[in-house]
């Protein structure tokens, strides 16, 4: 299979790109950042399934199942992250998807450890470079494979 050098492959490394699902949850209209991230990840060789605005935990889980996504990226700019992000993690776990959730957007430093404790794989702030975004997403997918007990559906 043709595969450009440097493209990030899916965790089982069988020659297909990582599939990442990008969305914003609930009432949060700031999707500029998410669009930039979509483009960044595409340029890094990932397949981006772009769900955009006004998604719910249930709609993201449903899309994740159908798309067989490797990772979920959520953009949050409405200060709802402490409520919504753990809810998303729980919904993914409840569905038995074993898919990591990465958060990007405006998250106060004090909240970052709270989110990580709640099971979020990584938190990316406004200063994150393109490289940091890509490596956070790909590393989250890689950990999913290696962490015992987290990958079983």
């Amino acid at each position: 299979m043709d595969r450009p050098a440097g493209a990030f492959l899916a965790p089982d490394n069988r020659g297909s790109p990582i599939r990442v699902l990008l969305a914003k949850l609930g009432l949060d209209g700031h999707d500029r950042g998410l669009k930039v991230v979509a483009r960044t990840l595409r340029d890094a060789g990932l397949e981006v399934i772009y769900l955009g605005l006004r998604q719910t935990a249930d709609s993201i889980v449903a899309a994740c199942e159908q798309e067989d996504a490797d990772v979920v990226g959520l953009s949050m700019h409405n200060a709802g992250h402490l409520t919504l992000a753990p809810r998303m993690v729980q919904a993914v776990e409840k569905a038995g998807l074993g898919v990591p959730v990465v958060i990007g957007g405006i998250v106060p430093a004090a909240d970052v450890p709270v989110l990580l404790n709640a099971g979020v794989a990584a938190v990316l702030g406004p200063g994150a470079s393109a490289e940091e975004v890509v490596s956070a997403v790909t590393a989250a997918v890689g950990r999913r494979r290696t962490a015992p007990g987290t990958a079983a559906p």
Partner: protein, 319 residues
Amino acid sequence: MSPELPDELFDAAAAGNRRALGRLLTMVERRDDLGAVVATRAHRDGGQARVIGITGAPGTGKSTITGRLADVSGAARPAILAIDPSSPLTGGAILGDRIRMDGHISSSAFIRSMATRGHAGGLAVAVPDAIRVLDAAGCDPVIVETVGVGQVEVSVAAAADTTVVVVTPGWGDAVQANKAGLLEVADVFAVNKADRPDARGARRDLELMLDLGHQDGWRAPIVLTTANQGKGIEDLWAEIERHAAHLRESGQLSRRRCQRQRDEVADRIELGLRDRAGQIIESEVGAAVLDRVEHREISPAAAAEMLLAPLTPDPGPES
């Protein structure tokens, strides 16, 4: 991952497990050994679902129409395969069809986004496999949406029982239409965004063009739609149904499906040969022959013929 055997996944998918169906599609999309097992079973069990292709220029509203059609069909388990191009440079892709569908689609539909993943030939074989997986899992109809640019994309959507070509007002006159190569494949036309000025003009252009064309017992009907408002979708579905009935009654359905399988086998042969061609060029013999071309001892055509010889042994007297 816990063991995920294709047979177990198929049983789960047929019972309505979407995650299992999602996994099976990933397997055929990879086109590896496991994918081959899945594809074989899907081919064995498939053949029931109606396949509808939707194509047209970017931004004409294909995804919105596709989502609405799945809803209007009233089917218990409709499936949508939405195909978007991969970047030729990085292999990445932004699959953005779902965003146009989610808003107005019942949750019964199974939607899968697929990237073209580099080589066009691969698309021509990965899509039929994915269609058969959806079919074998009990989805019906299967609606395949592709951008109508490029021969392969058009032909993928055209490899359907019924192909819908979506155009918009102001899309250009009949000459443009002919150039696009989209019109030959249309069984039904949708003039979408019909709330814009000159939707009727677009319809008239199509009618004029159809007047010139050759008719095979079926003249492609033209339906005006305003998909984002849901207008005209019932009419469009009715025409798709009418075309399906025409295919059945005229015996064209089985002929079409035979032709499709024939085309697919040809595509696979071509793909296999192309892979072999790459290997030959990379081989020592290939390098030696290329060297002679470089020194202008032999022409590129002669070189190709030399390298092709072992692949195409003289079949001898006609058997």
